[in-house]
Every structure is written in C-alpha cells, then in structure tokens.
Symmetry: C2
Subunit: 151 residues, 2 copies
C-alpha cells in the first residue's frame, strides 16, 4: 500500500509544528502560498514571545503581508496543521485568504467547523474555500505526543 | 445639563482613534489597563503596516503582554472604541482579559453581540465581563466623519 502523499505546503507546515514542539510551544505550523511558492510561514510562539496572538497562522499571515507589501493576500492559500481558532479565522477573513487547508479538526478550540464558525455568519466580509484532512494523522500525532510528555 | 463623563481609559482610546484617522486608518483605538494604569495601547494601522492583523485591540494586547512579560493578561481590562471583530475577540480570550469595555456596537463587523458571538460558545476557553456604551456617540462620530470624507 502506498499512502497518498501530503502536499508540500502541508509538509512544511508539519515541519514548522515540530519546530514549535522542540521549542516547548504547542506544535502548530502554517504557511502562506501564492502561485505555488511559500511567501510567509510561522509556528506557534506565544510562550517565548509573551504574545497571546503569536499563533502559527497569525505569524504566517503577517510575514506574507509584509513580504508582499499588501495587507490583503488575495489569491493566496493558507496551509495550517490544525483547524484555526476564532482569532485566526478572523485574521484569514481580514487577509482575504482565497483557500484554507487545515490538517486536523479541533473540536475544542476550532472556529471553522466548530464553535463560533466564523466564516458562516452573514457578517463575514469574506469566505475562503476550505479543505481539510491532508496530513490529519501526522498533525494530530504531533499534538498528542506534545501533551503526553507534559502530563 | 451635564453629560456623564467618559472614563479616562476610554478617553485615551478615543484619542488613539483620532490618531488613526489622522493617519488615514479607520479610527479605532484601544488601551489595556491594570490596577488603574494603562499598560498597553494601540490604534488601527493595517494599511500603513501592511498587516491585516494590526487592529487596535491586537496592538494594545501585544504591547501589554510584552510590557508585563506574560502572554496572559489576567486581571486586566481592555477598553476599545468599537465592538471587537472575531479576530480581536479571539485574542481577548487567549489573553484572558478580565473585563472588556467597548464604546460603540458594530452590527456589520462585531463578533461579541453580533455575528460569531465568540464568547458565547461552549468552546470559548475564557469569557470576559463585557460592558458597552461609554463614549458610544463619540466613537461612532469619529467613524462616520472618517467614512464621509472618503466617499
């Protein structure tokens, strides 16, 4: 049996999640892609940075917007290892991300298919296309291993 | 007739909103207060900063967390001139802000009493006390004047 290969951007997001774990942060990674090339990336860093907003998605979006010199990332994709929370889903709206790919769902903290369902309200100024599941087991395993060690 | 005085933190948030307008940004300002003293402040800056996450609340929370050296702002208040959006409401949750004061409601983009109602889901890891209305007319007038000039 051969396993369906995980797309390159999600492989990079998973590597960034591992970097976060190695630094003692919850292992979540994200990249922003435009025309097939990574234009911004990030990983969780709130503890070391003393910054409650330092989620992987926020870091990747800020890096991409800075690199492209535009507060809007029209036509860009965001690849992230976990379903975004309300804060990050809101940032995805503001950045006008065209397509969101996330690996694992997050019934506890996610706000795309759970909880606040940020994109599903008439007030949402923008709705990305959303795809999930690619790399789900790998992303979930990273999180499980991280929290197991800390218990 | 004497008008009920606007509390000092909201007066500062309104002044920051005016600064944003003067810089060509949507006029919204915010301050974080601990034990009666401002420990972080911010105003809207997404256009100039090329940063879709550069909302007043995010800037104020990041500044306060950096100043206090802690990703959590337990016991702190956030004062902001407009009802927070989903991104900022999510950041308020992550920062564990104890009390949220906002001046004007935002039926179009707000996510506290409108839309995603971020604090109202069982998944919300934290719920601040919420108060609104102090300085409402002043905050709304700043926004109206800003958008009137741009039409």
């Amino acid at each position: 049996m051969s396993r369906w290969p995980i797309p390159d951007p999600m492989q990079r997001a998973l590597a960034l999640a591992q970097e976060a774990a190695d630094a003692g942060e919850v292992p979540i990674g994200a990249v922003v892609v435009r025309d097939g090339a990574i234009v911004g990336e990030g990983r969780n860093a709130p503890r070391a940075a003393h910054d409650p907003t330092a989620h992987a998605e926020i870091a990747a979006i800020r890096a991409a917007a800075s690199a492209l010199g535009d507060e809007r990332l029209a036509g860009c994709e965001l690849w992230v290892t976990l379903e975004p929370c309300a804060m990050c889903a809101g940032a995805i709206v503001h950045a006008r991300i065209a397509r969101l790919y996330y690996a694992a769902p997050d019934p506890k903290g996610g706000a795309v298919e759970h909880g606040a369902r940020v994109f599903d309200h008439p007030q949402s100024l923008h709705r990305p296309e959303v795809y999930s599941g690619m790399g789900e087991a790998e992303a979930a395993n990273l999180l499980r291993a991280f929290f197991r060690e800390r218990r």
